[in-house]
Amino acid sequence: MKLELRGITKRFGRLVANDHIDLVVNPGEIHCLLGENGAGKSTLMNQLYGLLQPDEGDILVDDTLQRFSGPGDAMRAGIGMVHQHFMLVPVFTVAENLMLGHEHTRFGGRLNLPAARDRVRAIAERFGFDIDPDAIVEHLPVGVQQRVEIIKALSREAKILVFDEPTAVLTPQETDELMEIMRQLKAEGAAIVFITHKLREVREVADRITVMRLGKVVGEASPQASNADLASMMVGRSVELTVSKEPSQPGPASLAVDGLTVVDHTGQAVVRNVSFDVRAGEILAVAGVQGNGQTELTEALFGLQRDTTGSITLNGLELRGQSVQHILDAGAGFVPEDRQEDGLVPEFSIAENLILDRSTHEPFAKAGSLQLSYLREFADQTIREFDIRAQGAATPVGRLSGGNQQKVVVARELSRQLKLFVAAQPTRGVDVGSIEFIHKRIVEARDSGIPVIVVSTELDEVIALADRIAVMYRGEIVGIVPGDTPRDVLGIMMAGELPADAEVAA
């Protein structure tokens, strides 16, 4: 089936999320929709899938005009979607998820589960998947869950498939397998829309590329275009894709983590007997697929996990078991992975957010009252220094873009005298321009001679920043390898195995 979008426009208040978007996807074609976070890709696809209604413009399937008032209509028209956040009910089985919304029943109104199981098996077989129809979805690895999502779309005879940022949660190997599945679907004649902001993937599978920026289509590109060309189209100016940094000049081991185990509130050990050192003046990147204990590890470093054993010493000072305040006072700076939830108070102004973790200290507070004029001065200066784009220091942080919010968090931490800097997912959901800037500041922090830990699920970021790389899998460190370790080796490590030929960096 052929899909055509004509002049799709969607406004949210004064914001124009999609401005007269035209897009044609032919059967047997993989069409990449490339753009930064906030470029309007997901908004566009939500209209295609009936989750949102366009203010203007038409959707045509096989040259027939469509009106979708809900996802049910879109599905009936042959459109299937593999969502970025899987639309699977975690406590249901694979077969139950497959049948949800178009259930067949047997005598007495009983669900016809055997038929659904057969359907799962039949589609899985076509693609060489091995999926148990009776497995509970939440027990399956993320990569397999995604396959369930694909099977679900295919079971409704979808001929137009939309993949919304499908690789965000996958290991490099799983990503390769997904590409293979997409090629197979294409060979079967499906029309595929592949939404992403990762340049490498685009160049690998795309037949055609449409680039979006700030709600508009800025042009088409050929899959042969270079990364730099694609990136500059996406961002609207030329960008540096690699982080320029000198080789590190590591000093003595400064942060030492020894035998750290973290037990979560359900009684599961989520970080298991982890030991590593970080030297002053080096960046240790912690790589791994989301949910393998990285979050808990960083939280444990800052006293945010209740049940920990082992030891964490910074320049010989024991941090484990200390209060968060004590750890911050010891000179540790933290960029948490979820800035909305843990990094900022959205209703507070930029100035207030900049001193969240030292509001009780001089020079910001004297005799229990905030020194507002000093605070304003400090905020203005920091906003300039960290290139935070806002109307002023009094702007509530919640009104800033993701990139600028993240710069506020980074600025808060780096404007202190630090002895340790830990950044978790420092550029998640951040525009390319801000990524460049944040990466530069992280390298500067390293060059100032403090130990730096960067936790990231983006392999590109890990490789760009790391002097050494620790890969985590199921709460353990699989191995610590040099910063120039090849991607495929890291990929294998992210799946829990340490290749025999991997060079191990002590």
Partner: protein
């Protein structure tokens, strides 16, 4: 973290490590065993206790009374309890969960010993005790079914109390006015649905905090029924508050079985409806389209939306259904047990039903068992009061609530409810 990431993280954790040792169960059993030793041995009583199995009706064959020497039973039971508490540590050492049957056996042994201890020198009418327990459980079970349906669909139903009370009030008035108990039953369901409509409208349409709406509704219904009771019902009790009672229907054959028969199969239609409701909810929730969709909007509404299910519509109608079920439970007070409406006739049964929902882990069958447990505790208290037990009756009055707290907080611990319960669904 998004729900998805949380699920992924949870999945990564599962199968990752064996469970850590959880000492909660042995500590709990140990504490109870110590109490048992103190009560049954230190404050041990002598004499015999008689358990009678007779009922008012003539059974096909009757079981003889059972006489138990209290002191000996107390010794044996306390010793068993201590041994079992010690034995439970073996499970924990092996990093296994203490099985439910183990705790059940432990509880039953102590319960029998406690009954014997409390009734030393008296006769315990076991059939009467069980029948009374069931009678007290009926509204709890209806309320719990209403709670399970509503919460599985993603709306916290604190308004069970209000639904019960409105059902009780309306059924009394309608059954009195029409001289038809069946009309009273239907009216009770409608009353429950009306309370649900308010809950659903505020919770689903206007995104008001569901717990607060529920509590406010309970207060509203209580105030309204008190007002109407004082201004109308108590003035003209003859026409407005003397509802026709539902007749007792004995199921041929089954009702003649000793103990079980008179307790379970010689009841009014409401009780039989309750059996049907529990069976229907248990089956429907897990094996029908209705149940699959209902659970999907309570667990992951967005996933339901993307497969074309009307999330808020599904929630609205199921909350209404929950109200109808709870309303029936209310009718039991006025048409079955109490016989007329009095102020606050439900006296907190809705909250106990809510506790049963949580104690039962949002499962219809286990919530029913929990409701039965609460009903039993309540009845035990009144029976022991009547036969004159050595425990002060004020203390016994605390029993059902004590059981509730221990059950919900101590034994269940963190149970996992529907993921989206209490969260309104906004279309993105």
């Amino acid at each position: 973290m998004t729900t998805f990431e949380a699920a992924a993280a949870a999945a990564a954790r599962r199968g990752m490590t064996p469970r850590l040792r959880d000492w909660k169960a042995p500590i709990f059993l140990g504490a109870v065993a110590i109490l048992a030793v103190i009560l049954l041995i230190v404050f041990g009583r002598s004499g015999t206790s008689t358990f009678s199995f007779a009922s008012r009706r003539t059974d096909v064959f009757s079981l003889p009374n059972l006489s138990i020497p209290v002191q000996e039973l107390g010794l044996v039971a306390a010793a068993t309890a201590v041994a079992m508490a010690a034995g439970s540590t073996l499970y924990v050492r092996a990093r296994r969960k203490v099985p439910t049957w183990y705790i059940a056996v432990f509880s039953v042994v102590l319960l029998v010993a406690f009954l014997a201890w409390a009734s030393a020198g008296h006769t315990i009418p076991l059939t009467g005790l069980l029948a009374g327990a069931l009678a007290l459980s009926v509204p709890l079970i209806f309320g719990a079914m209403g709670g399970v349906i509503s919460e599985r669909a993603g709306v916290i139903n604190v308004a069970i109390e209000g639904q019960l009370l409105s059902g009780a009030f309306v059924s009394a008035v309608v059954a009195s006015a029409t001289r038809s108990a069946i009309a009273g039953l239907l009216a009770a369901m409608i009353a429950g649905v009306l309370v649900s409509f308010v809950l659903a409208a505020f919770a689903i349409k206007y995104f008001v905090d569901q717990v607060i709406v529920g509590i406010v509704l309970n207060g509203l219904v209580l105030g309204l029924t008190n007002f109407l009771y004082q201004t109308s019902l108590s003035q003209d009790a003859g026409t407005l508050n003397s509802p026709t009672q539902l007749p007792t229907i004995a199921i041929p054959g089954l009702s003649a079985v000793p103990v079980i028969g008179p307790v379970l199969f010689n009841q009014t239609i409401i009780v039989y409806l309750m059996y049907i409701a529990v069976a229907a909810v248990s089956f429907g929730l897990f094996f029908t389209r209705w149940g699959l969709r209902l659970r999907s909007v309570g667990e992951h509404p967005q996933a339901a939306d993307t497969v074309g299910i009307n999330v808020n519509g599904t929630r609205f109608w199921n909350v209404s259904l929950a109200g109808a079920v709870a309303g029936l439970g209310g009718a039991y007070f006025t048409l079955g047990s109490v016989g007329a409406f009095t102020e606050d006739v439900t006296s907190g049964a809705g909250y106990i039903a809510l506790a049963a929902v949580i104690f039962g882990g949002w499962s219809p069958l286990r919530a029913t068992l929990a409701a039965l447990l609460f009903g039993f505790a309540n009845e035990l208290q009144s029976v022991l009061g009547i036969i004159g037990s050595p425990v002060p009756s004020d203390l016994l009055l605390m029993l059902p609530y004590l059981v509730t707290i221990v059950a919900v907080a101590g034994l269940v611990g963190q149970s996992r409810g529907p993921a989206a319960s209490g969260k309104p669904y906004f279309k993105s």
